[in-house]
């Protein structure tokens, strides 16, 4: 996707709450995202980060308390994919399906303000969905594998690779 103001790739996807239940979506490059977010009245650094943080706190134009809360939330890490909440706030993209549980308290107000609702209604997959345990095991082991390879621990890597293959076979 391109920036809506120039030809550069859009790296920021901003959803602004115009009024209750109404919002507008913007796609900008770094520079235009900064421009877009600059005219904010708050003295708080008008970076995309604080902008998103306000939305995540669910309080449009929120001040100090919400900021402090979200600072604490920033340090949360998903045990499955290792993404921090701060990284999500910077990019607007989650790291894995399990993040919806890990960051649940922060995400619910965001979902409420973006969609106006917080519970799925509609299609259900034909297969029984996997439980959280099943959904996360493989992602977690793949992560361990990445770390083992990075640490040049090839013995551990080989074992993890076998483990992944075994689980994939079982699930197939």
């Amino acid at each position: 996707m391109k920036c809506q103001k120039c030809a550069k790739p859009a790296t920021f996807h901003i959803t602004d709450i115009v009024a209750k239940g109404r919002h507008e979506e913007f796609h900008f490059c770094d520079e235009h995202a900064r421009q877009h977010l600059a005219p904010a009245e708050e003295v708080v650094e008008a970076s995309p980060i604080s902008e998103l943080a306000k939305k995540l706190a669910g309080i449009p134009g929120a001040g100090g308390a919400a900021m402090r809360e979200s600072t604490a939330a920033d340090k949360q890490v998903c045990p499955v994919c290792q993404i921090t909440f701060l990284e999500f706030r910077n990019t607007g993209r989650l790291g894995c399906p399990y993040d919806y549980e890990v960051f649940r308290d922060e995400l619910m107000p965001l979902l409420e303000s973006v969609h106006g609702e917080t519970r799925h209604s509609g299609k259900v997959p034909r297969r029984a969905p996997r439980n959280t345990q099943q959904q996360t095991t493989l992602i977690q082991i793949r992560n361990e594998l990445k770390r083992a390879v990075a640490a040049e621990d090839y013995e551990a890597a080989a074992q993890l690779r076998d483990k992944i293959k075994r689980i994939e076979r079982e699930q197939a």
Binding site: M1, K2, Q4, K5, P9, A10, H13, T15, V18, G21, R22, H23, E24, E25, V80, C81, I83, T91, G92, R93, L94, G95, C96, P97, Y100, L107, L110, L111, V114, H115, G116, E117, T118, R119, H120, S121, G122, K123, V124, P125, R126, R127, P129, R130, Q134, Q135, L138, I139, R142, N143, K146, E168, Q171
Partner: protein
């Protein structure tokens, strides 16, 4: 089917058939899906993306769609742009990195992007205003793919997506509409505001900026959580007819109020497209829009809507360069574009099967 073959065919969605096709170019539904066992694309390593790609490719094959898979990672920039112009892949996929690709059916109704923002972005398009039909088809396609992959899904939040703005149904339901009458009557801002009020998004043909190419706009839903697919489709099928009525009224006003002026504008547009020796992409879009309106109002009778629809795509930079067999500078493209237009429009009614 290769990319070069595709320069000689065009998508079914450009055919100009189906209900309300004088205004509704096509109906399109997109579903965002992720595999349960992998991190989302932005967090996935090269190896994990390869894993996603191979699982999806196998599922597509098993679904017997007769689709061809294109490895977008191995493609030239020109070829990537060619697919963007045809609405087969998003600019985000084209400009992305690492293993990624797209499965396309020969009529280009179906495209399944792999390793875009979500692992799968399934798209189904049909010409005309036919959302329920498109939903039935993509729902079935989704079921068939799901027989061989496990989707990330939670009973409370639905299909889990990389961006929380798509979670739930993961659905984007849209129609691409041609609104030259409303634009001429300066009513487009009113339409924008009215649609925003009821939570629908409006954007230009390529989703760039607010200025749509050739008076084409895409109207689509925003909300994906808390409303079922059928409810979202009903939102569109309730509202779009009102816009169609607004556009028809605006066209009628143009005909009754300024018939001569309109006829002149349409004829000049057609004349320039048939005879220009060099022409920019922007001017082409503008003139094609007038010609398309002229055909629908019976002011031009020796050209088909399908041809004009195709020309919107075939006068884009990557298409012209593919046809030429290599890269062209802006000036050279403008000459190639004019020459292509002259030859297509000389074919007259050009029923292109």
């Amino acid at each position: 089917m290769t990319l070069d073959d595709m320069t000689r065919t065009s998508g079914e969605w450009l055919r100009g058939t189906g209900p309300e096709s004088d205004i509704v170019m096509c109906s399109r539904i997109r579903l965002a899906r992720n595999l349960a066992d992998f991190p989302f694309s932005n967090r996935a390593s090269r190896g994990e993306k390869l894993g996603v790609e191979s699982q999806v490719k196998a599922a597509v094959e098993a679904a017997e769609l007769d689709a061809v898979y294109f490895d977008v990672n191995a493609m030239s920039n020109l070829d990537r742009q060619f697919l963007v112009e045809r609405q087969i892949v998003s600019s985000e996929l084209a400009g992305g990195e690492g293993p990624r690709g797209v499965a396309v059916t020969p009529k280009e109704n179906v495209s399944i992007m792999v390793n875009e923002e979500d692992h799968l972005r399934i798209q189904y398009m049909l010409s005309g205003f036919r959302l329920p039909e498109v939903w039935e088809a993509i729902d079935d396609l989704d079921d068939r793919l799901e027989e061989n992959v496990a989707y990330a899904y939670s009973s409370s939040l639905g299909y889990l997506t990389a961006c929380p703005t798509n979670v739930g149904t993961g659905i984007r339901v849209g129609v691409m509409v041609h609104l030259p009458g409303i634009v001429a009557g300066k009513g487009i801002d009113k339409v924008f505001r009215a649609l925003q009020k009821i939570n629908l998004a409006v954007r230009g043909l390529h989703g760039e900026g607010s200025q749509a190419f050739g008076d084409f706009y895409q109207i689509s839903n925003h909300q994906t959580l808390g409303k079922s697919e059928e409810e979202i489709i009903r939102m569109l099928t309730d509202v779009v007819p009102q816009i169609l009525q607004f556009e028809r009224q605006a066209r009628q006003d143009l005909v009754t109020g300024r018939r001569q002026h309109l006829h002149d504008q349409v004829s000049r547009a057609y004349g320039v497209l048939k005879t220009a020796q060099t022409i920019s992409s922007e001017e082409t879009m503008l003139l094609l829009s007038s010609v398309r309106l002229g055909i629908n109002l019976g002011l031009i009778d020796d050209l088909s809507i399908a041809t004009v629809n195709e020309l919107f795509i075939q006068t884009q930079p990557a298409f012209l360069q593919k046809l030429h067999g290599g890269e062209l500078g802006v000036e050279e493209r403008n000459v190639a574009r004019a020459s292509f237009l002259r030859s297509r429009l000389a074919e007259g009614r050009g029923d292109d099967e």
